[in-house]
């Protein structure tokens, strides 16, 4: 479990069960993982980081600050604007939403771990 590089991934998801599961899976895969329950928490977490994460997994429907609002805020901050965002949503129009948000990719809920990992890997490697 000791890799030379450990890319950082921020998981933004309001449902604690999902959030915990995803965090666990990603950590198992050797990623460094930070989690937030909504957009505002996510912004707070990002502010506290010395360097931006390699990727953000973003849920869309959340209380307090939803995924759309978060994305808007993220794009305003030059240091964060370039961080690829993978939208994770139950919305049937996931692709549409992802396009709207100019997301790097999207994953449809319920999600399969392998799919999620493949997408994350391809975007992290590129970064």
């Amino acid at each position: 479990m000791t890799r030379p590089e450990r890319p950082l991934i921020l998981v933004v998801e309001d449902d604690s069960d999902i959030r915990e599961s995803v965090v666990e899976v990603l950590e198992d895969e050797g990623y460094r993982v930070l989690a937030a329950a909504d957009g505002r928490q996510a912004l707070l977490v990002l502010e506290g980081l010395p360097a931006p994460p390699a990727l953000i997994l973003l849920d869309l429907m959340m209380p307090i600050m939803n995924g759309f609002q978060f994305r808007e805020e993220q794009l305003k901050i030059p240091a964060l604007a370039g961080v690829p965002v993978v939208v994770v949503t139950a919305d049937v129009n996931a692709k549409n939403k992802a396009d709207q948000l100019r997301a790097a990719a999207f994953v449809q809920k319920p999600l399969k771990i392998q799919t999620l990992l493949d997408i994350i890997e391809s975007h992290v490697a590129r970064a």
Partner: protein, 763 residues
């Protein structure tokens, strides 16, 4: 007057004549005495006088006789006797007596002849003409003036004693004395006579040039034309003439008198004939007029037998009118029909004009509805019967009945119906429903413009719709209508234009439907559809969330098995299995919730009421959440009285409290949660207060409401089915849920319940 006295020798030699005889003979005594009579007057030799003279001279018998001396046209009463061997002739001119008697004979005879022909009209005049021609002329013609009195009609009768002339005259009806003299006689009313004249002169006098030769050929030497006077005026002329070829002397005044008398008698016939003609004309007119009428016209006698019927009777009863007249009503119309009208005809026979409508089962024409007007028929002051005018109103009656049905439909229709005038658009007729829906009385609306019933802001629109109705003949539209009290309602109108044969709109008719209800249903339907969509969206999100977590955990388990030794990760496995189990629970309760929602939607929400202590239930629920409260970091503080007994559905309230507490823990932000039970007499309240993220004001009511009023799915923050169900449960108990909250300030949910749930609170 002195008699003529003459004395002759037996051979006729004149011995003596007295002055009167000279006068008669037209000679002087000297010229006569000594002469033989038969030599002086040769024409006397072949005469009856000569015969008797010879007889007396021969036998010595005395003779007395009357005779006509044609050359002079005079009658003599002769007394001839022998005395002293000489023949004495004493003669008295009895021409006048003779003529008078003859005239009486002629006239009497003519009267008889004329009377016998009067009824035969046209052919009768031929007989009259013939009679007159034979009496006093060689030829006679009778001509009447045309009805406009301007020209003469062709001769009614014309006769000549000579067959050859007769044929010529009858074949050439224009010949006669009428052309020139006729109008003069008609004009003056006086007779005309020309006698002993040159036929050529006659021709010139009486005929215009084209026919003059023909008239001249007739060789007329005497003409008489007399007026036919009838009905107080001259109606025609009768003319007679004598020809050179005939045996008669030129006309004398006496002939004129006779002709005038004959003409008077002929005129009587004309008059009679004309009267008959008029009667016949009247009869024909009556028949023509009554036959043209589209009604049954009859004259019925007191004996209830037909005296007169028009053509309609023939059509109705299928027999000729000759076959109806004289027959009884019963015979013609059939017994049943007769019984139906028998009583109704009595008033007319009693002198009273009567009108009635009755259904008559005619034997031939079938059952018909008739309207009969019976008018008494008086003759010389006595009621002789009645005149019946019978109209067939069967179709009319059927229409009337139909119309009545339509009228009833119109009057009792649930929809408003109105007719408007095409130019002013004023209401011609409205039904009660129309008046009712606009808050008016029917009479109030008649004559008002339809626009009065339409909201002012919709009136411009109304004009467009009317235009469309005019153009398309039919148009359906929705407008806002205005009641008398100023309130408005949406109205669906279906209008049609009705046109006459020329295509001109005579009126518009429309039905109006108050669609307030429909609009509400539509809104409700739209809301229900939105609710369903929202519900499905929320439900799918709610269901997918634990499913996702469950999936991830199971996937993780599988991967852990694949890559690591089981013993190594015991604790990890235990955690994953526990989490998977939790997700399965979540899914289970979500499905329960969905089933509840479906039941709520179906309006079947039976409460199983029992008496229990609410405080006990609250404590039980809080206890159940101990582990979760610990995990969320929120401490639950309980403030309850000793007890709060009441009658409610225990499991429903358990569900409601569970929802409230689970929400508080979810959004409590890890800060303390306070639960308070307030027992306030008739009502009991449970207040759950958290200090979490709170709810925006506009969302407060919505989170409790139905899904279409809940936060939109993109802003959905997990305020799921729970609150909705909780609200429904509260309402089923006759209670409510209230929310006090500000964003970021936490939220307080108060479940308020009556202590004793009213039975059958919900329909």
């Amino acid at each position: 007057m002195v008699d003529s006295v003459a004395c002759y020798e037996r051979d006729g030699t004149i011995v003596y004549v007295n002055p009167r005889t000279c006068e008669i003979f037209g000679r002087s005594r000297d010229a006569l005495e000594g002469q033989v009579l038969w030599l002086v007057f040769p024409e006397a030799r072949d005469n009856a006088f000569h015969e008797v003279f010879e007889h007396v001279a021969r036998t010595g018998e005395t003779r007395r006789f009357e005779h006509l001396y044609p050359p002079w046209g005079r009658w003599y009463d002769n007394h001839i006797y022998l005395a002293d061997e000489r023949v004495w002739v004493i003669a008295r001119d009895i021409t006048h007596e003779k003529q008078a008697a003859q005239r009486l004979d002629i006239l009497a005879n003519a009267s008889r002849v004329f009377a016998s022909v009067a009824s035969e009209a046209r052919t009768g005049f031929e007989v009259i003409a013939r009679h007159v021609a034979e009496l006093i002329g060689d030829m006679c013609s009778i001509r009447l003036l045309s009805l406009d009195r301007k020209v003469f009609d062709p001769p009614l009768g014309i006769w000549d004693v000579q067959p050859s002339y007769r044929e010529m005259l009858q074949g050439n009806v224009s010949i006669g004395a009428s052309e020139a003299i006729g109008p003069m006689v008609v004009e003056s009313g006086k007779p005309f006579i020309m006698s002993s004249i040159d036929p050529r002169a006659v021709a010139e006098r009486i005929a215009p040039s084209p026919r003059r030769d023909l008239v001249e050929k007739l060789g007329i030497h005497s003409v008489m034309v007399v007026p036919l006077k009838a009905e107080g005026g001259v109606v025609g002329i009768m003319s007679v003439c004598r020809r050179l070829s005939g045996t008669r002397a030129p006309y004398a005044d006496a002939d004129l008198k006779l002709l005038e008398e004959l003409a008077d008698r002929a005129a009587l016939v004309v008059s009679q004939w004309r009267t008959l003609g008029r009667v016949e004309d009247a009869r024909l007119q009556l028949a023509t007029i009554t036959d043209a009428l589209p009604v049954l016209v009859s004259l019925v006698g007191r004996d209830l037998r037909y005296r007169f019927v028009n053509a309609m009777y023939e059509r109705w009863f299928g027999r000729r009118r000759e076959d109806i007249i004289g027959k009884s009503l019963e015979e013609v119309m059939g017994r049943d029909a007769f019984l139906a009208v028998e009583k109704q005809v009595q008033p007319a026979l009693a002198g009273e004009r009567a009108q009635f409508e009755v259904r008559v089962p005619y034997a031939v024409a079938g059952p018909r509805h008739i309207r009969s007007t019976n008018t008494p028929y008086y003759l010389e002051g006595r009621i002789e019967g009645y005149i019946a005018l019978v109209q067939d109103i069967t179709v009319e009656k059927a229409h009337e009945a139909q119309l009545q049905r339509w009228e009833q439909l119109f009057q009792h229709a649930g929809w408003g119906v109105a007719m408007t005038e095409p130019i002013t658009h004023t209401l011609i007729a409205v039904n009660p429903a129309f008046a009712r829906m606009h808050g008016y009385g029917v009479e109030e609306l008649r004559g008002r413009p339809l626009a009065d019933c339409v909201a002012p802001e919709s009136r411009a629109e109304l004009a467009q719709h009317t235009h469309a109705t005019h153009a398309d003949g039919h148009h359906q539209y929705e407008t806002i209508h205005l009641r008398k009290d100023g309130s408005r309602f949406p109205c669906l109108t279906e209008a049609s234009a009705f046109r006459d044969d020329a295509g001109k709109v005579i009126y518009y008719a429309a039905n109006f439907q108050d669609i307030t209800e429909r609009k509400r249903y539509e809104a409700e339907l739209r809301a229900a559809i939105a609710t369903r969509d929202e519900f499905l969206s929320i439900a799918s999100h709610e269901l997918r969330t634990p499913l996702t977590a469950l999936d991830l955990q199971l996937d993780g388990l599988q991967r852990a098995f694949e890559r690591a030794s089981v013993t190594e990760d015991r604790a990890k496995f235990a955690r994953k299995v526990a989490m998977a189990a939790r997700q399965a629970d979540r899914l289970g309760s979500l499905i329960d919730g969905l089933l509840n929602v479906s039941r709520l939607e179906g309006r079947s929400f039976p409460l199983e009421l029992e008496s229990f202590d609410l405080v006990g239930l609250v404590q039980e629920v809080v206890q159940r959440f101990d582990a979760e409260a610990e995990r969320s970091g929120s401490a639950v503080q309980l403030h309850v009285p000793e007890q709060a007994p009441g009658r409610w559905d225990r499991s429903r309230l358990d569900q409601a409290l569970t929802n409230l507490l689970s929400n508080a823990l979810k959004y409590g932000g890890g800060r303390p949660i306070e639960i308070r039970v307030v027992d306030a007499g008739e009502r009991v309240a449970v207040r759950v207060r958290d200090q979490g993220i709170g709810i925006a004001r506009e969302d407060r009511e919505r989170v409790l409401g139905r899904f279409e009023r809940a936060v939109s799915s993109s802003h959905y923050g997990g305020l799921g089915l729970g609150l909705y169900i909780t609200n429904e449960i509260a309402q089923a108990h006759g209670g409510s849920i209230e929310i006090e909250s500000e964003p970021g300030q936490g939220a307080t949910f108060t479940l308020s319940l009556p202590r004793h749930t009213p039975e059958k609170e919900r329909p």
